[in-house]
């Protein structure tokens, strides 16, 4: 797995977390359970996000943002049994030979990676 893919994946996981902490219901449940957190967890996570984003090149980051704003759910997905984990269309076999570089699903445009 390339460093870029790793960072994009980390970024996406951070985005899941931010989404949860922005959700009132989720936050209430966290409090009820007894988790004590920073005054402004979202702000803290956004700072981490900024730092992480600096570690990949700008155009890649911008592409991540574009894909995310288009699909809302995820920007980088695994290829599962030859199918894109985002749109479930078949990924051309010639792409699977290029596991070391970052690719986009020809159908939906999301970043794809092989486990």
């Amino acid at each position: 797995m390339s460093e870029e893919i790793k960072i994009l994946l980390e970024l996406q996981h951070l985005d899941y977390m931010i989404k949860d902490w922005r959700n009132d219901e989720t936050r209430k449940q966290f409090q009820k359970i007894g988790f004590k957190v920073e005054d402004d967890p979202v702000q803290m996570l956004l700072k981490k996000r900024e730092k992480l984003a600096e570690r990949i090149n700008k155009s890649l980051y911008q592409m991540y943002e574009r894909i995310l704003s288009r699909y809302k759910d995820w920007a980088i997905v695994p290829v599962l049994n030859g199918f894109c984990g985002g749109c479930f269309s078949k990924v051309p076999t010639e792409l699977s030979g290029q596991r070391k570089v970052i690719n986009n699903c020809p159908n939906c445009g999301r970043f794809i990676y092989w486990d």
Binding site: K6, H13, M17, Q29, K32, F35, K36, V37, P41, D73
Partner: protein
Amino acid sequence: MNLYSLLKPERINLDLASRKKQEVLRELVGAIRKNEDADLLVSTLLKREDLGSTGIGKGVAIPHGRSLVVDKLELVVGRSKEGVSFDAIDKKPVHLFFLIVAPPQDPGNQYLIILGRVAVVCQELLKRKAYEKPETPEEFIKLVKEIEGKL
């Protein structure tokens, strides 16, 4: 929703070797994923810990996160005799861990429901240190089942 039905013997480690935060997260994660998936999970869980420890006191911690490396909710239990330093809110070492990893898309919000359920069951497991008694993962699951039967 019952916890015991989500528990699997191979995901219950009643004798954790780790004594520190990062190591114990890795040991717990190791029960569900290896290699790069495990690295990603650990780094995500650590980011969550940075917001404030998931050690909620009295020796219990509930590390949690969402990840696309799982396609359904996964639960891992860990127990440590010696205790793990986990920056818990009461500063006490943690003896009982419930790790929860949920997929990002989670219809019915199973993640939150299970988190709440784990917290409740943990309070019962703490009573008279009930969690110390099981000697096998199967016995642990049986104990959780008994607890849930009385809830």
